[in-house]
Amino acid sequence: MAARAFADRHRYWLLILPALAAMLIFYVWPLIQIFAISFTEPTTGFGNYVELLSSRAIRTSFVITFRVAALTTVGCLLLGYVVAYAIYNTRARYVGLMLMLVLLPFWLSVLVRSFAWIVLLGRGGVVNDALIGLGLIDRPLALMHNEFGVLIAMVHVMLPYAVLPLMANMKGIDPSYVAAARGLGASELTAFRQVYLPQTLPGIFSAALLVFVISLGFYITPALLGGGRVLMISEYITYQIQEFLKWGLGTALSVALLVATAAVILAAARFVNLRKTLLERG
């Protein structure tokens, strides 16, 4: 009897034990190591953090990171809102197809999608060739290896992360609210602005949070389309560790990024119900 009660009480812990162990060994432990290294390499102390705070290059990289993430978020929200809105406000027969088109990029590697943009935006890329061919420009435009190229590709890669939470949100909005607003004398625009839009604010917040946080730590797309000229913090960390073998500074930057991301989420938590936004979506 006592054994039975014991088993009941501990059964759930036993069930999550493997996952918990994996988390501790492969996630928490390395994180602690990173934290430790940042204070011990090359010498013990706050040296890496002093360098982090005084280095112009690092400050620039942080500014670029936040600016790219912010602009990506704005771009994704604008485009994603339109897409999500269209999906729930067009004929039901096209909804399946449109959903497919949103999800398709999810199944393609980010690497492939980023290279696709290089093919499109490069000096001899499709876009420049077409514009020159049409006689609109004489010399190729600099469409990549700058922030513009990074932004275009980032918005493309991140778009599903904005569309999905917005869709989940819009799916729950009864069309009778807008009809009621129209019936009570509101124009189409007023009905949208005052009745529909406010109801999608939770979706907008969760989409923004998701896109911004993922963008902060994004590596592949900025690395490929930035061509080393738009150094976002992830790429900067990679350089420190792989090229210069400066593990101490690299790990200190990682910790800084982690702290910055946590700060964003904590700040967002003041406005959004995070549990609802991130866990109860869909």
């Binding site: 607003a181 009570l184 406010p198 604010l201």
Partner: protein
């Protein structure tokens, strides 16, 4: 009486709406009088909601015109028609509190803030929701939401209020209370009400006139009493209340009474003109049949089944000629204590039967 008793505020001319091959509205002709309480009544799929949404402007007509006080509004968008509307699920805006919900139609009409505030207070008082201005819709009960929806639809004093099954989501007792309140509101404000429902009791208790719809066509229009007592078709007699139907042969007509035969029995039917051809069908309301009449019973039957409803008792009789006859008698003074299998006599007055046109 099929025409409104007051000048027409809204006229519907040959309204047709098709969904694929289904004809939702089959050429509806209707005049709605100033200040009238008009109910569109019909089963689901009868076109009543389609007609209401066409009036509101959410559904475009394939043919026909809508004329509001002499002005053609057929092609106007919903926001330019100036009707108030109460939706089935209330559709209170969840992001606005009660005050802002009621103020919404006034704000989009660019009223001055002071006027808006005064009107909102007035409307809250009208529906007895004074203390609730700062509540959110989600904090209100169904009946309270219904009241706010009404206040919102009436806040800008529309000349016509459209109501789409506004009470269908409420429980029975609350529904009855709100019926009284709606009627009272209608009387106080003098606004024209166009009310859609599938509930015949609701229609009978509130309306000035009822329009009975079936398959997108008007079956009959009239005051509740007139419709109930003189249904023209089997459908109307059956849908509005309960009816027994007897197929009769007319054997003679004199002094406003037709001598009829059905099921081997003879009885008289009061009518101005019996159907041509000597055959017809009459509708007979269950409550017009007397069980065990004191003097000279006409027919003999047996009780097959009874159903006790409190104020009334429903009895199904077996009669060798008529078949099954439904009788509804007040429980407090019926001539017999209904009991299954009990032989019982019954009769009815000559004016209890009504000839139907679609026999």
């Amino acid at each position: 009486m099929t025409a409104p008793s007051s000048p027409s505020v809204l006229s519907i001319r040959k309204a047709v709406k098709r969904y694929g091959t289904v004809q939702a509205l089959g050429g509806i002709e209707l005049d709605i009088g100033e200040g009238e309480f008009l109910t569109l009544l019909g089963p689901s799929g009868s076109g009543k909601t389609t007609l209401l949404t066409a009036i509101a402007g959410f559904t475009g007509l394939d043919e026909g015109r809508l004329v509001l006080r002499g002005k053609d509004i057929t092609d106007l968008p919903p926001d330019r028609r100036d009707f108030g509307m109460v939706f089935q699920g209330y559709a209170l805006f969840p992001t606005m509190n009660v005050r802002n919900n009621i103020a919404f139609p006034l704000k989009v009409r660019k009223w001055k803030p002071a006027d808006i505030q005064a009107r909102v207070e007035e409307c809250l008082a009208l529906v007895q929701m004074e203390g609730f201005a700062d509540r959110m819709p989600s904090q209100l009960s169904g009946g309270q939401q219904q009241r706010v929806a009404l206040a919102r639809a009436l806040s800008f004093r529309p000349s016509v209020l459209l109501l789409d099954e506004p009470l269908s989501a409420l429980d029975k007792k609350l529904r009855a209370d709100l019926q009284w309140e709606l009627k009272d509101l209608h009387r106080k404000l003098g606004v024209t009400f166009i009310y859609v429902t599938h509930d015949q009791d609701e229609a009978l208790s509130m309306s000035d006139r009822i329009v009975i719809l079936k398959d997108g066509l008007v079956q009959q229009i009239g005051e509740p009493g007139a419709l109930y007592n003189a249904p023209r078709t089997t459908f109307v007699a059956d849908f509005l209340g309960k009816s027994n139907f007897l197929d009769v042969e007319v054997e003679g007509f004199a002094g406003g009474r037709a001598r009829c035969r059905a099921g081997g029995e003879s009885f008289e039917v009061a009518t101005e003109a019996p159907p041509a051809g000597g055959r017809g069908r009459v509708a007979l309301r269950p409550e017009r049949i007397r069980l065990a009449p004191p003097k000279g019973a006409a027919f003999e039957g047996a009780i097959r089944q009874t159903s006790y409803l409190g104020e009334r008792c429903h009895v199904i009789l077996d009669h060798p000629g008529f078949g099954q006859i439904l009788v509804s008698c007040p429980t407090w003074k019926s001539g017999v204590v209904p009991e299954d299998g009990l032989p019982v006599s019954f009769d009815w007055d000559a004016d209890a039967c009504v000839f139907l046109e679609d026999a």
